[in-house]
């Protein structure tokens, strides 16, 4: 097989790729900042930074000016320093801070974003275009909040934003951007409402199995004797009290607990197949004998 110098898609002098996590502001609809929502056993900001860290030389947080939210990942921040609205402000501020870098930008409200999707984006990157991005599986438009922005995109994006067109999606649709198709069509579905959030959790559960959660157990009577303590907090993938019962090793000694043990979740009786969520308190209730 002969070699060909013409087939090299990515020149060796391609600008370094930095990652930018768009932390964003508070979400009234979600009851918490989107970056703090937990789909993977850690806040979305941490999860997104971890994914970017796997394909980028450095990772930064794009934040609003002012004191940072408590609990954000321990990463360098780039406060918005460009007077434009929306996510373009974060992207342009990063470009201004490191003009020689290309930026892989990802928002925190993409709970289905995964490593293969980012790896395919980086592999398909064309540094000669303004950006490399995905085509939305729902409307066919570019997905600006999961995009590699090349350094030379800065001036046209800034010009568009300062001319009153700050929407990066519209900018990309009219720009010289490489558009890739998603191998996982829903990988960039964003979660803006509690309904979206529930759908994302269902999709993740189907993909990976149940997510990790912290459950507080309070033990009474024979269970306290068996565990040797009044209570404990466990980190578990158990989806139901029945899973938890088995995980604690009770199932081997008591294979049919529903016949004689009841279960309480958050101080009321629950069924053995109730769905547990992070932060629940569970009590196993051995046969009672009041009176």
């Amino acid at each position: 097989m002969s070699t060909s110098s013409a087939s090299l898609a990515v020149p060796s002098e391609a600008p370094p790729l930095f990652g930018l996590v768009l932390v964003g502001g508070a979400s009234r609809r979600m009851g918490a900042p989107k970056w703090a929502l937990n789909y993977h056993g850690e806040p979305q900001a941490h999860q997104t930074a971890r994914l970017l860290g796997a394909v980028c030389e450095r990772v930064f947080l794009s934040v609003r000016p002012g004191p940072p939210d408590a609990g954000l990942p321990d990463l360098p921040t780039i406060p918005d320093a460009v007077a434009v609205r929306g996510p373009s402000a974060g992207i342009l501020s990063a470009m201004a801070a490191y003009p020689g870098a290309a930026w892989l930008v990802a928002a925190c409200d993409l709970p289905l974003l995964d490593a293969p999707t980012l790896a395919a984006l980086v592999a398909g990157r064309d540094p000669d275009r303004l950006a490399t991005t995905y085509r939305s599986s729902s409307d066919g438009l570019p997905e600006p909040l999961c995009t590699v922005w090349e350094p030379h995109a800065r001036e046209p994006l800034l010009a568009a934003a300062t001319a009153g067109a700050p929407c990066p999606r519209r900018f990309l649709a009219g720009a010289d951007a490489a558009l890739l198709d998603l191998a996982r069509p829903h990988a960039l579905d964003n979660a803006n409402t509690p309904g979206d959030q529930a759908a994302a959790r269902a999709a993740l559960s189907a993909r990976h199995g149940p997510m990790e959660k912290r459950i507080r157990l309070v033990h009474y009577a024979v269970f306290r004797d068996a565990r040797g303590r009044d209570g404990e907090t466990v980190t578990t993938h158990a989806e139901t009290p029945r899973d938890l019962f088995d995980e604690l090793g009770f199932g081997a000694a008591c294979p049919s607990p529903a016949a004689w043990i009841r279960v309480a979740v958050n101080d009321d009786f629950a069924t053995w197949d109730a769905r547990l969520t992070d932060g629940d308190t569970v009590v196993f209730i051995a046969p009672t004998a009041g009176g």
Binding site: A226, P287, A289, G290
Partner: protein, 146 residues
């Protein structure tokens, strides 16, 4: 309509007086039940009893039982007090009081409350025996327990 879980000794006379006050002059009958610690269980000599409650759920489920009693029977007032901790022989473990216009409803409601309470409310009992180690009552023998 009260459920109380207490580590203190139960004063049944005071409980009864409070029930009568709460029911008022419409109550023509007051029925009370007291469960006391006896000296034997299943043919074994008992020295003392230990009661342990899951307080939040015991009160919640107890209140449901009292509400059911009020719906089923023509009663004015129903109350339950359950003791926790280590009890000596003869001490009161549970007190149930019902005030109603007529005795029939009072007897039936009192029976209903104590029966449901024993079956449903998360309170556990450990018997201390003269002839062996203490055991939680109702827990199946070795092999089925956790």
């Amino acid at each position: 309509m009260t459920v109380e879980i207490t580590p203190s000794p139960i004063n049944s006379a005071a409980c009864c007086a409070a029930l009568a006050r709460a029911a008022g002059p419409a109550a023509g009958g007051i029925v009370t039940f007291e469960g006391v610690v006896r000296d034997h269980s299943g043919g074994r000599p008992v020295l003392s009893l230990e009661y342990e409650a899951y307080p939040a759920l015991a009160v919640r489920e107890g209140e449901r039982i009292l509400e059911e009693a009020r719906e089923r029977f023509a009663v004015e007032t129903v109350a339950v007090v359950h003791r926790t901790g280590h009890l000596a022989l003869g001490e009161t473990a549970v007190w149930v009081g019902v005030a109603a216009a007529h005795r029939g409803a009072a007897f039936e409601a009192c029976r209903y409350v104590i029966d449901e309470l024993k079956a449903r409310v998360p309170i556990w009992k450990r018997e201390h025996y003269a002839d062996g180690p203490a055991e939680w009552v109702g827990v199946p023998a070795t092999g089925a327990a956790p």
